[in-house]
């Protein structure tokens, strides 16, 4: 799978839509025949549901049956479609964005809407296709262009793109580069500030609902390190070096990542970015497991850390796993002083009301059953 494109390009977006039933490289009538009657459920947020007219320059690149991931299989939840919108002008930041969309029937949409799921416009960009940024390393990068491209390929091996972005599109390369270059900056880019990011507003003083007053983004103001933490992080990133007598031998993250990328490039007969995902994955599996584990952890951090660290662009990592991210200072419950009682803004003490967008599939059940068996636990049907 590749997500390489320049902004505004109408790229070829091959999608490996693996569901419980396997890959379904089919088209279905709902999208191509009569798109104006198709509604889409944004898979990146349980709150955003939009009757989105599929027409004009939107080009569907791949589609598939929903099967295991559908709240209602079969007739109501029709399938998914990965599409690329090519109609925006090059100056528009949304150009070239690849969306992963759930396609549902009008009936399901109305039912969900009636159940209280907020309907609103789709976010501007749910899934960046990482245009250009995967091709060329940014100025000042720790990596050269070839290494940068390799880094993106391996990030997609760790988290392959599907109807949600992969490791590359989630910003793994930028995240890793930011960490490895943390000490190029003062203060070093290790600990984001606090207490608030500005993504959630203050609560209204009366009634407690969300206000239009947002705090400043203090996350973006990185904090100085303590004397001890500064030394520890330099060792973690650069290696033990002259501190080896005290700290023991520590291979720094810079060397771990660079050596791993170099080994991957050396093992590939052609540039890594020319490999398809299965081939790149097979290659990854032959690398030093110390590197692959450390690298996988970095990709995971990039996907789910606050975006101030360089990854999780457009919060797509959080959306993908149905995490809201930091909710302060609004939070989820409001203490109503007049009533001397709590009001839950979203369910805290009760069950979710929306659909389960990613129910457990057969493979997950099989893994859990095995795990439970190995631990002498209990499985209920």
């Amino acid at each position: 799978s590749t997500c390489l494109c320049e902004a505004g390009d109408s790229v070829s977006f091959e999608f490996s839509g693996v569901t419980r039933q396997g890959t379904h490289p089919i088209s279905f009538g709902g999208v191509s025949a009569n798109p104006r009657e198709v509604y889409v459920l944004n898979p990146f947020s349980s709150l955003l549901l939009a009757p989105w007219r599929l027409g004009g320059p939107l080009r569907v690149r791949s589609v598939g049956l929903l099967g295991a991931s559908g709240a209602d299989e079969g007739e109501e939840l029709v399938g998914w479609a990965s599409v690329v919108h090519t109609g925006y002008p090059k100056s528009d930041r949304r150009a070239g964005v690849v969306y992963g969309l759930r396609v549902i029937s009008r009936r399901v949409f109305l039912r969900l809407a009636a159940a209280g799921v907020a309907a609103s416009a789709l976010p501007e960009a749910a899934c960046s296709s990482t245009p250009a940024s995967v091709v060329k390393a940014p100025p000042g990068s720790f990596f050269d262009d070839a290494e940068w491209r390799a880094l993106n390929v391996l990030a997609d091996v760790v988290l392959p793109p599907d109807d949600a972005p992969g490791g590359a599109a989630l910003g793994a390369a930028t995240y890793i580069d930011t960490l490895l270059r943390a000490f190029d900056f003062d203060p070093p880019l290790i600990h984001a500030g606090g207490p608030f990011s500005g993504r959630a507003p203050f609560a209204n003083a009366i009634g407690g609902a969300a206000s239009s007053n947002f705090p400043k983004n203090e996350f973006a103001k990185f904090l100085p390190l303590s004397r001890v933490a500064d030394r520890a992080w330099r060792i973690r990133i650069f290696g033990s070096g002259l501190n080896e007598a005290i700290a023991g031998k520590v291979v720094g993250l810079r060397d771990q990542v660079k050596n791993g990328i170099t080994a991957a490039m050396a093992a590939s007969p052609t540039p890594l970015e020319t490999l398809d995902l299965p081939t790149a994955t097979a290659l990854f599996s032959t690398l030093d497991p110390t590197f692959t584990k450390a690298f996988a952890e970095l990709v995971a951090e990039s996907a789910f850390a606050a975006p101030e660290y360089g990854g999780n662009g457009e919060l797509a990592g959080w959306h993908m796993v149905h995490v809201d991210g930091d909710a302060q200072p609004l939070g989820y419950s409001i203490y109503d002083e007049a009533a001397q009682a709590y009001v839950e803004r979203l369910p805290v003490s009760t069950a979710d009301t929306g659909p389960d967008l990613d129910p457990m599939d057969d493979d997950t059940h099989a893994q859990l059953a095995l795990y439970t068996h190995l631990l002498n636990g209990r499985v209920s049907s």
Binding site: G194, L223, S226, K293, A296, A327, G331, S333, Y371, R378
Partner: protein
């Protein structure tokens, strides 16, 4: 320029001190609050950085914290947790295993202004009255060293009540059928329960058990200048961004700092007690700029945890047995709580990142001394929360190191959004062989020998785990868990509850400190954290640390009548 993380806080003009307190956590903050209230000039030393801006500013909106709902910072980048690269510890199960079997993160709890309680979701149950009498009640237990506490529940009750008010505890009096008597209600009513906890609590009720809202030092209404908790979801393991948690920093230590009688020096590592005969005459520290200084007061209080207190005593007597160790007991009887984690994975989701991580408890499995049908276990924490990074690391390390399966698991989230759990905080038997000393070779980045942990569990706690395991699984099944199992234990101790090592008692040959925390051997040295406790109980330690430390400080002001210090 001085870093805001290490700048002196409080009355910076103070230059002579009555008392130096080593450690700004629960015990140290409790002592500082009492002593400064009675006019003592107190210097508090904290090895870690300060993330509270304006902790000494009386403006009601202060302090502003640098804590945040930032999983990377708190859980992966050692924002407050002791960094094993900077300060490792070593571990071995027994002396027969050689100098060490592991170097790295061992019982690595936060090292920051406010101490380990900053990261906790601040569960604050009281101990039961019988918890203070296990030496008498259990009699001789082979290879264990159970002992009565030199103070009993009745005497401590007013201190408990004070502690609950001071840090602001929510709870429901009468809801725990196994609790000791109370002199009054909790300061606040219970807040919002988490869905996952409530589902398990219902499962427990169906089996005739008695779950109840966990007493917790988190505001459930505006309290003492702090706002009500808004259930942001990043609670356990996170500092509170809005100071809804009753962290000792924003409650007890702040009061001390606002008194004008207290000075706090962050990033100041105590590395040696300077001795003159049987008195402490100074404490050598590494200042934030790396220079060594010696600070002086009349009296000194250790409150740096059961592990670091002992490390300091050992470092202060190079080649010897450790300061204050005529009993030979310094560092011995190290206890944790023996955690049994029961996990239930459900088909449904629990939106685990909304709420306070753990909101309910049951004490049916605490047990009764000498009742074979109800062995001594501990309180059961009900509910759980974990972040997306933590979940990803779980899969990477265990089930799906990378690829489509990893991504599928992350989206389906069986180990985060569909899991809810119970943690039995089992009583850990005291054993002389479980101990803290200095590693003979491994040093930290300042070149100082690190603490070595020697610890192996006793059949007392492992048999209790075996006894209660099926009962925990019964609750999960009753609540509707699709998959129910007990998490495997880790050989390397990771517990946050650090207890014992400076046991207090009346007999100098069988204890290190007296009933008021003063070292038998050293007239001007005290301990004021959970290092004093002869037994671990089966309950979370924070409230009892405040309680005992307040009594220690009260006795420093009113010898023989510490309750006079209660406000």
């Amino acid at each position: 320029m001085t870093s805001p993380l290490s700048a002196v806080v409080g009355n910076a003009s103070l230059s002579t001190f009555d008392v130096i307190v080593i450690g700004s956590g629960v015990g140290g903050s409790s002592v500082a609050e009492v002593l400064t209230r009675f006019g003592q000039k107190v210097l508090v030393l904290e090895a870690g950085p300060n993330y509270f801006v304006g902790l000494d500013d009386p403006t009601p909106s202060m302090p502003i914290t640098r804590f945040s709902s930032d999983e990377l910072k708190l859980d992966r980048r050692f924002f407050i947790r002791q960094d094993p690269l900077a300060e490792p510890r070593t571990f071995r199960p027994t002396e027969a295993d050689g100098d060490r079997t592991f170097v790295g993160a061992v019982n690595a709890i936060p090292k920051t202004v406010g101490g380990a309680a900053v990261h906790a979701d601040v569960k604050t149950p009281r101990f039961q009255p019988t918890d203070f009498q296990l030496g008498t009640l259990l009699g001789n237990v082979a290879d264990a060293s159970f002992a009565d506490w030199p103070v009993q529940y009745d005497e401590l009750e007013p201190f408990y009540a004070h502690a609950e008010r001071a840090i602001g505890v929510q709870g429901l009096a009468g809801s725990d059928p196994f609790a000791g008597p109370r002199s009054g209600p909790y300061p606040m009513a219970p807040g919002v329960g988490m869905y996952g906890a409530l589902v398990l609590a219902e499962g427990a009720k169906k089996l005739g058990l008695s779950p109840f809202p966990f007493p917790t030092a988190v505001t459930s209404r505006p309290y003492d200048g702090r706002p009500a908790c808004n259930d942001c979801g990043y609670c356990g393991d996170f500092g509170c961004p809005i100071n809804a948690k009753g962290s000792p920093a924003v409650t007890l230590l702040r009061k001390a700092l606002l008194s004008g009688n207290c000075q706090l020096r962050p990033e100041t590592r105590a590395i040696k007690l300077v001795m003159n005969g049987s008195s402490v005459v100074g404490v050598e520290v590494i200042a934030p700029d790396g220079t060594h200084q010696t600070l002086v007061a009349d009296r000194y209080v250790l409150a740096a945890t059961a592990i670091e207190d002992v490390r300091l005593l050992m470092l202060s007597d190079p080649g010897g047995v450790g300061v204050g160790n005529s009993s030979g007991l310094v560092g011995r009887n190290l206890m944790f709580h023996y955690g049994t984690l029961a996990l239930g994975i459900f088909d449904k989701r629990f939106h685990v990142l909304r709420g306070r991580s753990v909101t309910h408890a049951l004490t049916d499995f605490r047990g009764v001394p000498n009742d074979a049908a109800r062995p001594l276990g501990g309180i059961v924490e009900i509910g759980s929360a974990s972040g997306a990074i933590e979940e990803a690391i779980t899969y990477i390390e265990n089930t799906a190191p990378y690829g489509a399966r990893l991504k599928a698991l992350l989206r389906q989230s069986p180990f985060r959004d569909r899991v809810t759990s119970m943690l039995l905080q089992g009583e850990d038997a005291p054993q002389l062989t479980n101990r803290v000393d200095l590693d003979p070779a491994v040093v930290d980045l300042d070149g100082i020998p690190v603490a070595r942990i020697t610890h192996k569990n006793h059949a007392f706690e492992t048999s209790a785990r075996d006894f209660y395991t099926p009962k925990l699984l019964d609750i999960l099944s009753s609540a509707g868990a699709r998959y129910a199992f007990i998490a495997p234990t880790d050989d390397i101790p990771g517990a946050s509850h650090l207890i014992g090592t400076l046991r207090f008692g009346n007999n100098p040959t069988t204890s290190v400190c007296d009933t008021y925390g003063r070292f038998h051997d050293i007239g001007n040295l005290y301990a004021a954290d959970s290092s004093l406790w002869p037994t671990s109980s089966g309950y979370n330690p924070i409230l009892t640390i405040v309680t005992v430390a307040t009594r220690v400080a009260g006795n420093m002001i009113f010898p023989g009548a510490p309750s006079k210090a209660l406000p």
